[in-house]
Each structure stands twice: as structure tokens, then as C-alpha cells.
């Protein structure tokens, strides 16, 4: 029996390891393409690099103004996280404690905002923003990006509090004479922290990776380009070769990798309901 189990373990682990290949290869390719000489790549695109250079990264950084794009992206992400985080906390807590007849349907309606296609609401928003002269404005783009994650965010906080915050605790706090804001501040926010961390991590990742909002609202002003917009625009230029594109892509992916490493636990707890301990 133990022998069978052992063999099964080896087999399963091998399959699990094989499945990692398609997830690792694109990144190996990306890194190796970004740091090898052009001639080296052309001679064997599928092979491993035989040369090393940082020229492409430096060139892409300068050509696409990636330093500025990185700062722009971070500004947009921070605004999005602030908007989505605070609003999700307040809204999620409200729906946890409110028990009126209309709160259930309203919660579903606001949550259904998640399923509205982004183009459908972004186009009118763009028209209004263009008339108001708000295109190319990172702050506006950040707010809009934050609101696009809001239906998910507040619903997530609500669901989390529904499980982690019991009626007795809320009742006890209010019986002690604490108003709704004190209860929110001292019970609601601390209890919602794991959910908030997951919401913030995802809002950051989504805003960071966004192309649609950026290409709609920021296209008009090259000074406001985000990393994804700068990287994808760079690749449409004839004079930039594949190495330059790979370098730009690499620079645009690194920050999310860092966020991933840092926020991995929160993300997993959020998605996995705490099964990953």
C-alpha cells in the first residue's frame, strides 16, 4: 500500500511539474530575448542565448520613456487603490450591518456592475471626459480604474464580513453605545483587513495591467502613458526590434511580479477562502 502511494506521489508530482512548463517558458523566453544580441536571436530564436547585453533594456527605457511610464502607472494604481479600498470597506460594512428590505436587491444591483462591459460605460465616460478636458489626466484615469474594480471590491468585503463578523459582536459594540462609525472604525475595519488586502492587491494588479482605460483616456497625451500603453505602443514602431519590445515587456512585468511575491498570501486567502495556510 505504502509502495503504491509512493509511486502515485512521484507520478502526480511529475505531471504537476510538467504543467509548470508553459507557465515558465514564456518568461524564460522574455528574459533571454531581452538580454541577448540581435544576431544571436535570429540564428536560433528557440535556443538559449549565447550573448548578454543590457543595451536593449536601456534603449527601450529611453525610447519609450519607461521611467516616466512607471511613475504614471504607479500614480494611477495608487489612486485606484485608494478609491476602491476605502469605498469597498465602507460599502461592504454597510451591507453587512444593514437589514432593510431594499439592501439585498441594491447589493445585487451594485454587484452586477461587475458584469457591465467596460467599453459600454467607458465610451460615454470618454466623451464626457474629452469635453471637460480631462483626457490625459492620470488622476481621472485612476478614479475610473478604481471604480471599475469597485463592484467586485465591496461585494468581496461584504461576503468576507458576512463570515468573519458575527451579529453578536456588532450588537455588543452598539449596545456599548458606540455609534455606527465607531463600530465601523474599531470592529469593521480591523475585521475586514484580510479582505481589504486582497481587494487592494487585485485592484493594483488590474489597474497596473489595464490597457483599455489607458488607451481610451490617456492616448491623447504621451506624457501620461502608462507602462502597458508605452510598451504596446513601442511595439507598433518599425524601428524597434523584437529585443527592444521584449525589454519593454520585461520592465512592465517586473513590478507586478514584486507585488505578486508580496501579496501572494493575501491573494490566496482572498481567492481560496483561507484554505492555503
Amino acid at each position: 500500500m505504502s509502495n503504491r502511494t509512493h509511486r502515485g506521489a512521484g507520478f502526480r508530482t511529475t505531471i504537476a511539474a510538467l504543467i509548470t512548463v508553459p507557465f515558465i517558458v514564456p518568461f524564460v523566453f522574455l528574459i533571454s530575448t531581452a538580454v541577448r544580441e540581435r544576431s544571436d536571436y535570429v540564428s536560433s530564436p528557440g535556443g538559449l542565448p549565447k550573448s548578454f547585453t543590457l543595451d536593449h533594456i536601456v534603449e527601450a527605457w529611453q525610447e519609450a520613456d519607461l521611467g516616466r511610464a512607471l511613475v504614471n502607472t504607479l500614480i494611477m494604481c495608487v489612486v485606484a487603490c485608494l478609491v476602491c479600498g476605502t469605498t469597498s470597506l465602507a460599502g461592504g460594512y454597510f451591507f453587512r450591518v444593514a437589514r432593510q428590505r431594499w439592501t439585498g436587491p441594491l447589493r445585487l444591483l451594485l454587484g452586477a456592475g461587475y458584469a457591465i462591459p467596460m467599453v459600454a460605460w467607458l465610451i460615454p465616460v470618454f466623451v464626457i471626459a474629452a469635453q471637460a478636458g480631462w483626457t490625459g489626466n492620470l488622476f481621472v484615469a485612476g478614479v475610473i480604474s478604481g471604480v471599475s474594480s469597485l463592484p467586485f471590491g465591496f461585494y468581496f468585503v461584504h461576503t468576507f464580513l458576512q463570515q468573519s463578523l458575527s451579529d453578536e459582536v456588532i450588537e455588543a459594540t452598539t449596545l456599548d453605545g458606540a455609534g455606527v462609525f465607531r463600530a465601523f472604525l474599531y470592529i469593521g475595519i480591523p475585521m475586514a483587513m484580510p479582505a481589504l488586502a486582497a481587494v487592494l492587491a487585485l485592484t493594483f494588479v488590474w489597474s497596473f495591467g489595464d490597457l483599455l482605460i489607458a488607451s481610451t483616456l490617456l492616448q491623447s497625451n504621451t506624457d501620461s502613458y502608462t507602462l502597458t500603453l508605452a510598451a504596446t505602443t513601442l511595439t507598433t514602431r518599425e524601428d524597434i526590434n523584437l529585443q527592444g519590445q521584449a525589454a519593454a515587456a520585461l520592465v512592465s512585468l517586473l513590478p507586478t511580479l514584486i507585488v505578486f511575491a508580496v501579496a501572494q498570501k493575501a491573494l490566496k486567502q482572498g481567492f481560496g477562502g483561507g484554505s492555503e495556510k
Binding site: A16, I19, P26, P151
Partner: protein
């Protein structure tokens, strides 16, 4: 127009509140302050613009200029345009990937459940795509799959040169390739969700089955899948929504909808019509059609959940 839509939900709230407030947990009227930001932001940025674009779909819409009311002309034009039907067709072709997108992560989550070393590490690796920008990852795949790219070079090196092809500019290949890339992008999230659902199944169910001599597939189909039915349906709905909602970056970077329109999704087509070609009215009409399609899918999903629930209730009675 915009302003009335903004305040409408808030007004409704105020009107109904006094009669039905329960002092208990609600915190009464002051608690509404916590609700206001969500309502205002969603109404102003999501719902009001949606209503506005629906309104404008009945106009020869010229943003910033004079728009003339033209009834259903935009819709008639849209429905008589073969390009529109091609894009709708693409949309449903992509949905053929659904069994793959559901079963692959489900099977792997089930396999990882036990007797796998470092299963947490594997889950992390599979989850990588979930935190990456689809646009940037699509850039990488565009290079990998290009005519003289590494995938074809590798095929030629190992003597399978006949299989090499222009993956992204071959009309017959491009949609299946994108279906596989969607699998790549969502696989890790699916594994994570299914793993957590599976971990809630009581262990003794599997132990009992094993004593009865049930094998891997028997456990999978007869214990694991039925036990986490809700998670499976939820993940299916999520994937369907993603195909309607979140394909823009992939299509925009990988193929620009091409060759021709053979890989375009509706969200990409709407963006293209509006931002590039300036067909504002039909773009608005197409947005409305897309929303209606999503509503229809949601309705079907709700129906499936209800039927599954009834099925289970029926079984309980008969047992």
C-alpha cells in the same frame, strides 16, 4: 440626463428608509453615509454612462456635435452587417473552450489534493498569469507565435516543420490558439478556487470510496465534482463573463482582431468602431447588444443553478 440618473437610486433609498429601519445592527440613518460613496461612484461612472449610451444608440450620434434621432436605424444597420454577425459568431466560437477551461483546472486541483510534493509551489506558478498584464503577456505570446518565432523554430528543429504555421494570422488557427491562451491565463485561478472548494469535502467520503475500490476517475466524477458543483458553476459563469468582458487586451495586442475580423471579440469591435472608425451610433447600438447578450447568459446561468438545485432536492427525496 446624467444628473437625473445619478440621483435616482439615492432618492429611492431615502423614500423607503424611515418605515423599515430596524435599529438593531443597522445603526439607523447615519449608516447610510457609508453607502453613499459606492452608490454615487457606481451610478456616475458605471450605470449612468450605460443608460446614456443606450439612449444614444437611437441617434446618429456625433459626440460634441449635433446628433439626430434616427430610431432603430443603428440597430438595422448593425444587424444587416455581416461583419457584426462574424464577431458574434467568434464570441460563441470562443465559448467552445468552456469545457476545457473548466475541466482542466478541476482535474489538476483534484490531482494536487493529495500525494503531491510542494503542491503550494505548483499552485503559485500556475497562478502567475493572474497577476500579469494581459496586454504585456500577449506581447510575449505574439513574439513566441510569430511566423519566424521560437515555436515554429522549435518545431522545425525537432523535425515537425510541417506543423509550423503562422499561428496568429491563419484564419483557421487563430481562434483555437486564443482559446488555449485563455486557458493559460485563467488556469491558475481555477485551480486555486477548486482547490479550496475540494478541501472542504469531508475526507471520509474519499476513504469510504477507496475501501469500496473506487479509482481516481470514480472519485473525481462521483465524489469530487458533485460535491463542489456550486464552485464549478460559479467558475463557468466567471469564464463566460470573461469572454464577453475582458478579451480586449488580448485581441488588441495579439491580432488586432485579424486576420480580417476572424479573431475579433465584441468588446474589441466596439472599441474599434468608436475610437478608430468613428461609427459612434452603431458602436452604441453594439454596446447595448453586448449588454443584452451578457444579461441573457446570466439568465441562463441562474436557470442552470436553479435546475441543479432542484435536481439535488429531487435526489434527496427519492433517497
Amino acid at each position: 440626463m446624467t444628473a437625473t440618473a445619478d440621483t435616482a437610486p439615492a432618492k429611492r433609498v431615502r423614500k423607503q428608509k424611515p418605515s423599515r429601519v430596524q435599529a438593531g445592527l443597522g445603526g439607523g440613518r447615519p449608516a447610510l453615509v457609508l453607502l453613499i460613496p459606492v452608490i454615487v461612484l457606481e451610478a456616475a461612472i458605471l450605470f449612468a454612462p450605460l443608460l446614456y449610451i443606450a439612449y444614444r444608440s437611437f441617434f446618429n450620434w456625433q459626440p460634441g456635435g449635433v446628433s439626430e434621432f434616427n430610431g432603430f436605424d443603428n440597430y438595422v444597420e448593425l444587424f444587416s452587417d455581416p461583419a457584426f454577425w462574424q464577431v458574434v459568431g467568434n464570441q460563441f466560437f470562443y465559448l467552445l473552450g468552456l469545457p476545457l477551461w473548466v475541466i482542466a483546472p478541476l482535474l489538476v486541483a483534484f490531482m494536487l489534493r493529495e500525494r503531491v510534493k510542494a503542491s503550494g509551489f505548483f499552485r503559485s506558478v500556475y497562478f502567475l498569469p493572474a497577476v500579469m498584464s494581459p496586454a504585456v503577456v500577449a506581447l510575449v505570446f505574439r513574439a513566441l507565435l510569430s511566423v519566424d518565432g521560437p515555436v515554429n523554430a522549435l518545431l522545425r528543429t525537432v523535425g515537425l516543420g510541417e506543423l509550423a504555421r503562422p499561428w496568429l494570422s491563419d484564419e483557421a488557427m487563430v481562434k483555437p490558439v486564443i482559446i488555449l491562451l485563455v486557458l493559460w491565463a485563467g488556469f491558475g485561478t481555477g485551480v486555486l478556487i477548486f482547490s479550496s472548494a475540494l478541501s472542504a469535502i469531508p475526507k471520509h467520503l474519499f476513504e469510504a470510496a477507496r475501501l469500496d475500490g473506487v479509482g481516481f476517475w470514480g472519485e473525481f466524477w462521483h465524489i469530487a465534482v458533485p460535491s463542489i458543483r456550486n464552485a464549478v458553476v460559479l467558475w463557468m459563469i466567471f469564464q463566460v463573463i470573461s469572454i464577453f468582458l475582458f478579451m480586449f487586451s488580448w485581441v488588441y495586442v495579439l491580432t488586432r482582431g485579424g486576420p480580417g475580423l476572424s479573431s475579433a471579440t465584441m468588446d474589441f469591435a466596439i472599441y474599434q468602431e468608436f475610437m478608430r472608425f468613428g461609427f459612434f451610433g452603431t458602436a452604441a447600438a453594439q454596446s447595448v447588444v453586448l449588454v443584452l447578450l451578457i444579461l441573457a447568459c446570466a439568465g441562463i446561468g441562474a436557470l442552470v443553478i436553479r435546475l441543479l438545485g432542484r435536481d439535488r432536492a429531487g435526489k434527496k427525496v427519492s433517497a
